[in-house]
Assembly symmetry: C2
């Protein structure tokens, strides 16, 4: 009987994160201060020293502290699965593998960085972390991490999700965090917005502003971000490093590496260690595909330009693919993919031609998720269904051409808190959203003015 599952020995878990900045053919553009427009570090009132150092480091490998490795081992190493049943159902010659990140206590890859961030902040004397969350995957991961390192945690949850997904909020409270709907009355930006528009449903970009203000205004508090930034993506590289060893056990090297992208961190976590082989010329032909929603298509539709990370302009300006920080994505169920921009590292690599992007519509992603559940068993997060959709499409292309390609995708999380989305699909009520070039043009009008030398 062939192996279906590749289990790594705990002793072989990575001891270092991989920092792709060491191997980029061109360095990343700097961050710009939202006020002065000068190159800047991450704002020290928001981020502790070690995180700031990691954000700009060029060292290839950064050691994972023992205390972080110890918590990783609550659920890591995660398994690599061969999707035999899916292959058989699709009748494809392709070999499909998936790296399975659902098994963390919070149900996704997110704790890989939450644990590291909580650890460094604790070590530097911080007492409390603030953050934002959309559908709640990130907020619950940070709540879990803060509890383990004995930090207080305050989560600003986008109001539309706060009301629609009470279970993720209760999960955060189970781990002892405080969670409020954003816009909230707990911050000045929140109060100002509510005064103008009491029924405002919030957005991820706005919740970031609230969480930043919270950290700016309290000496005991720093801010924590769950995606986009370099250090976050780097913390996720434990995924890809494990997967490389497991693919070796399986005796295959991936021809195609696939992940869904919102801010970009789960895709980066799987892809970057393999990307090293491409950047260094060892494996020139590996394809990397980022799967995004057609309704929030920063990589496939947005320009590569300078934009704010949040609505109120408290976070630095970054060069990235963006739909404009005022772009309001439609209410797709994949809440984690509803971000206007894209990680600078992913954007940079896409611009340089190392990453392809595919946009997929919502209904087709759930169709893929149902196929996956009915063959492989696992019920996937709506975000993950984007990666599954693109994987199935690639496997079906192999069926046409007869090529027995090896496809590896990241199964970033489970859908246990998203069953109402599945019901919506199964009852035929799920909709696709058109993307409006006009709306994007409108939101791109508020891009920040940038000094000429950075253009």
């Amino acid at each position: 009987m062939d192996k279906t599952k590749y289990i790594l020995d705990e002793k072989k878990m990575p001891t270092h994160w991989y920092n792709v900045q060491a191997d980029l053919p061109e360095p990343l553009p700097p961050y710009l201060h939202p006020g002065t427009k000068e190159p800047t570090r991450l704002p020290p009132p928001l981020f502790c020293e070690e995180i700031n150092k990691q954000e700009f480091s060029k060292e290839r490998y950064i050691e994972i502290p023992d205390e972080v490795q110890e918590v990783y081992r609550v659920w890591r190493p995660t398994v690599l699965q061969r999707a035999y049943r899916l292959e058989k159902f699709l009748d494809t010659p392709a070999k499909i593998y998936y790296k399975y990140e659902d098994s963390s206590p919070a149900g996704s890859h997110k704790p890989n960085t939450a644990i590291a961030q909580a650890y460094y902040n604790k070590k530097e004397g911080v007492k409390r972390l603030s953050t934002e969350t959309g559908a709640g995957q990130w907020g619950s991961s940070l709540a879990f991490a803060c509890k383990l390192f004995d930090l207080e945690c305050k989560v600003y949850m986008v109001k539309v999700s706060y009301n629609q997904k009470p279970y993720r909020r209760i999960m955060m409270e189970t781990w002892g965090a405080k969670c409020v709907a954003s816009p909230s009355i707990d911050t000045k930006v929140g109060r100002d917005l509510l005064a103008k528009d009491p029924n405002n449903n919030g957005s991820l970009g706005f919740a970031i502003s609230e969480a930043c203000e919270d950290a700016f205004s309290r000496d005991d508090t720093k801010y924590s971000l769950g995606s986009v930034l370099n250090h976050v993506l780097m913390h996720q590289t434990v995924i890809g490093q494990e997967a490389m060893l497991q693919m070796e056990m399986a005796g295959h090297y991936p021809d195609v590496v696939i992940g869904c992208v919102g801010g970009g961190s789960n895709f980066a976590g799987l892809a970057l260690p393999f990307m090293k082989d491409k950047l260094t010329g060892k494996k020139k032909n590996t394809r990397f595909i980022a799967a995004e929603p057609t309704s929030c298509p920063s990589l496939t539709k947005g320009p590569y330009t300078w934009d704010l990370g949040d609505v109120a302009g408290m976070a630095p300006i970054a060069k990235m693919y963006t739909l404009g920080h005022d772009f309001m994505p439609p209410p797709v169920h994949a809440g984690g993919l509803r971000y206007h921009g894209m990680a600078p590292v992913i954007s940079h690599l896409a611009k340089l031609g190392f990453i392809e992007a595919k946009a997929v519509p919502q209904i087709a992603t759930f169709e893929a998720g149902i196929t996956f559940a009915r063959t492989e068993g696992f019920i996937s997060a709506p975000e993950t269904n984007h990666a599954i959709r693109v994987t199935i499409d690639e496997a079906l292309k192999c069926k046409e051409t007869g090529e027995a390609k090896t496809i590896l995708f990241i199964h970033s999380g489970h859908g246990h808190f998203d069953m109402s989305a599945y019901e919506s699909y199964l009852s035929g009520k799920l909709v696709d959203y058109d993307f409006s070039d006009e709306a994007m043009k409108e939101s791109l009008k508020t891009l920040p003015e940038i000094p000429a030398q950075f253009k």
Copy 2:
């Protein structure tokens, strides 16, 4: 750094189920036909041949078919964890281990038998399985299993849960099963009950009757039960066999083995392979503790006597600890523990003194679950919280006595579909239910009359 997690190599997975009937000091009492009151097999219209054979087998080991092993390997072997953080929090010298069964697609140990039952029925030409479910753990597991073996699946879900927990229903539908609220209009017993009492909220014992009628009335359909019966408990012994190898890896043998009991299958799955060592005199001092709710305390309050397995008397009569088949347990969140009886194997071993029982009240179980989530990370099913409660109590006793005992418990499932119960606890709204001896006396009045030779 000490190991926190014991990962078994796929190659070391058990190839046989362990059948405790081979090692019992006295044989199990027979089943009696609910009509004739004569010793009987399982009704062949309900159960296929191989299942019937396994139910009464005295062979010590029964081979797990390759096809079943192959599906087990979607999520098995499961990990054994050392609960260092919980130990530290409790400041106990006890060593706490847990066998973690949350990682199956359905989120609990239940698929271990669902897969086997679906396989044997498929092999014998059955096209469709019917079953009942309370909170939905079992129904979703059988839905998953049926989809993988291409069987239709019909689930009768206790109406109060059907209405309160729509997400478990959607999970079943995601795997292609049909799920209706019980009492339903799809069976005669259901229609009769609804005619008398249109607002009846259903019970597990009644849903069993509906599922049995469904199978009795259709040639293409057999019935499937998720706990209580011998073959079900036996299929769960993969858990304990894996755990024995993993405890060996850890270098400890458990002094105490703990699990929650409703029908008894998850506890049996972990306990029986260790029980073999006790029954055969190899390890005489191991304690086995079954944790049950104070509100449905069959082992601690019920008599050991002959009773029906279901309300309508379609299933055989078994000798077991029971509160009476008409006993209506209060609506505790641990829906899987709301069964009037107890597995004959567990009952028999408890009667013979090999198993102790502890009843724990609902609020105390959630307090334990919160402690577990805030130390070990994982959010547990309300059922599992009963095992955690008893584990913590035993560990605290060790703190008093200074004994460094080794405690092993089974973490039977996650609480992702039970967050409203956690909210209820966190907001101080959760209640405990008194157990009424009077109510039990009342329900014991309808115990079946049994011929003298079986008394």
